[in-house]
């Protein structure tokens, strides 16, 4: 026990930790940059109108937020093997479950855009 442990033959703990954090940041930073650039590469402009809408109209923006929050909650409920068992389970057994309905909607969407390369 003691600070001498931090510098051992072939390992300078502080320098190593700095470099380690550097790699973690580096990796995620590159991913972040890639994510920022990709849409432009793909020339996706379907995002802009939406942002305009939300800026001009806050209330609808709030509604949107609520909807999105709900959507995320649904996503977590449906997909994550976490504590919300009764619900996850219900979505197996119970056919009237709202989650299932949402799931159906989701499937419909993804069916609309079958081949992601030509839209």
């Amino acid at each position: 026990m003691g600070f001498h442990n931090l510098t051992q033959p072939g390992l300078d703990a502080l320098q190593f930790s700095l470099m380690g954090m550097g790699l973690v940041f580096g990796g995620l930073l590159i991913i972040a940059i890639y994510i920022t650039l990709l849409p432009r590469l793909l020339k996706l402009n379907q995002s802009k109108p939406q942002q305009v809408k939300t800026s001009e109209n806050t209330s609808s923006g709030e509604e949107e937020e609520i909807l999105l929050a709900i959507a995320t909650a649904l996503h977590l409920h449906n997909n994550f093997p976490d504590g919300d068992e009764r619900i996850t389970w219900k979505s197996h057994g119970d056919m009237e479950s709202p989650w299932l309905v949402s799931g159906r909607m989701h499937s419909l969407n993804s069916r609309k855009q079958t081949n992601p390369w030509n839209h």
Binding site: M1, G2, F3, N5, L6, Q8, L11, A13, L14, F16, S17, G20, M21, L23, V24, F25, G26, G27, L28, L29, I30, I31, A32, I33, Y34, I35, T36, L38, P39, L42, L44, Q46, S47, Q50, Q51, T54, G61, E62, E65, I66, L68, A69, A71, T72, A73, H75, L76, N79, F80, P81, D82, G83, D84, E85, S110, Q113, T114, P116, W117, H119
Partner: protein, 375 residues
């Protein structure tokens, strides 16, 4: 074969009070899982495993996970060889929707910042006299990611796997208890009520390309993270490709369930009091708690630093979600945000640093493994 030998072949004859302590801990895990809903899918298997692992086995009989040739030994091999964690990552990848992260790249950095918990805990463990390998394995508890912690300790310090795994999962379960005070401590009311702009919609194309590119980036920077992240992004590709839905479905249901059952149970069964209740374990639990605090703090403070440079301010609460512990810490952020302002829905935004934190700690694990592992 007289009465005495029968008694000596019973468990009561060899039961020590330390085993009783562990059995009570196991029951406590199950109780918390059922009543408080803390990570039940892990605490129930681990808890029951702890109970099973602390029934004194008969001398020389192949019963415990440590007795070569026993059934539990074979189930535990999946832990010791590091096979279960990547399979769980495969399932997690098949159930994770990265779109919130794709729509808000800035928040990814919060997932990186939280990994400070890993490296400070690493230093702290060295300071307390653990070997570098052990320190690396203990540090990863700060990643708040059970499979990553189990994988790295099976590679670096199998002798500490039990306490590290239990610590990691215990604190992940306790995230709703650990994080809020820190969040209030380091943020002002004014910061907590910051609304985030609703993110743009992400195209299917972006979602499909992401796992491939993200894997290439992480794999080339830290090949040591290849095993975990390869499976995570593979699972995600199965989910997003749209043409392999049935595989993704099996990966995120039957497969992850079976592996979770076996991993949780056998990790629990490896915690025999005689080897588990040591001074080292207590140190590991203290270090683990510290790592969660540091990670949460790191995420929050980095968000505040980012705000110094950003026009569109980030709600610093989101930094706490960088700890991963998916999706609990994101839920905590959402709950705290709602308490301040019932119209502030942070859940979805919190998922970005949350999943980024998973990637971040996997990279950290890869770095620690490649640097500290003996090959």
């Amino acid at each position: 074969m007289d009465l005495l030998s029968f008694y000596n072949n019973s468990g009561i004859a060899h039961l020590e009070w330390l085993n009783l302590v562990m059995i009570i801990i196991g029951i406590l895990f199950i109780y918390l899982a059922i009543t408080k809903d803390y990570e039940p899918l892990l605490l129930v298997p681990i808890g029951f495993g702890v109970i099973v692992g602390n029934i004194p086995p008969i001398e020389g009989m192949p019963l415990s996970v440590y007795a070569e040739g026993s059934v539990f030994y074979y189930l535990y091999l999946g832990v010791m060889k590091g096979i279960y964690p990547p399979l769980i990552f495969l399932g997690i990848g098949a159930m994770t929707d990265f779109s919130t992260m794709l729509s808000n790249p800035k928040l990814i950095l919060l997932g990186a910042a939280a990994q400070i918990g890993v490296f400070l805990t690493f230093i702290g463990s060295l300071f307390l006299g653990f070997t570098p390998e052990q320190a690396g394995a203990i540090g990863i508890i700060g990643g708040a990611d059970g499979p990553t912690a189990i994988f790295l300790s099976s590679m670096l310090a199998p002798e500490l796997l039990g306490p590290i795994a239990i610590a990691a999962y215990s604190y992940m379960a306790l995230v709703p208890v650990i994080q809020p005070p820190i969040m209030y401590l380091f943020t002002t009311k004014k910061e907590r009520i910051i609304h985030m702009k609703p993110p743009r919609q992400v195209s299917k194309k972006e979602k499909i390309i992401f796992p491939i590119v993200a894997f290439l980036i992480c794999g080339l920077i830290a090949p040591g993270s290849m095993t975990l992240l390869g499976m995570l992004f593979f699972g995600n590709l199965l989910k997003e490709s749209m043409v392999t839905e049935r595989l993704a479905n099996t990966a995120r249901n039957s497969l992850i369930d079976v592996v979770t059952i076996l991993l949780g149970f056998s990790v629990g069964a490896s915690t025999q009091a005689q080897t588990f209740l040591t001074g080292q374990s207590i140190l590991i639990f203290i270090l683990g708690a510290a790592s969660f605090v540091v990670a949460t703090t790191g995420g929050i403070l980095f968000a505040k630093i980012m705000n110094l440079f950003l026009k569109e301010k980030i709600n610093p609460l989101l930094g706490a979600a960088g700890v991963s512990a998916v999706p609990d810490s994101a839920r905590v952020v959402h709950a705290v945000g709602l308490k301040e302002d019932p119209t502030n829905f942070l859940l979805m935004h919190a998922m970005a640093p949350n999943v980024a934190g998973v990637i971040g700690s996997a990279i950290a694990a890869g770095v620690l493994w490649s640097a500290l592992g003996k090959f």
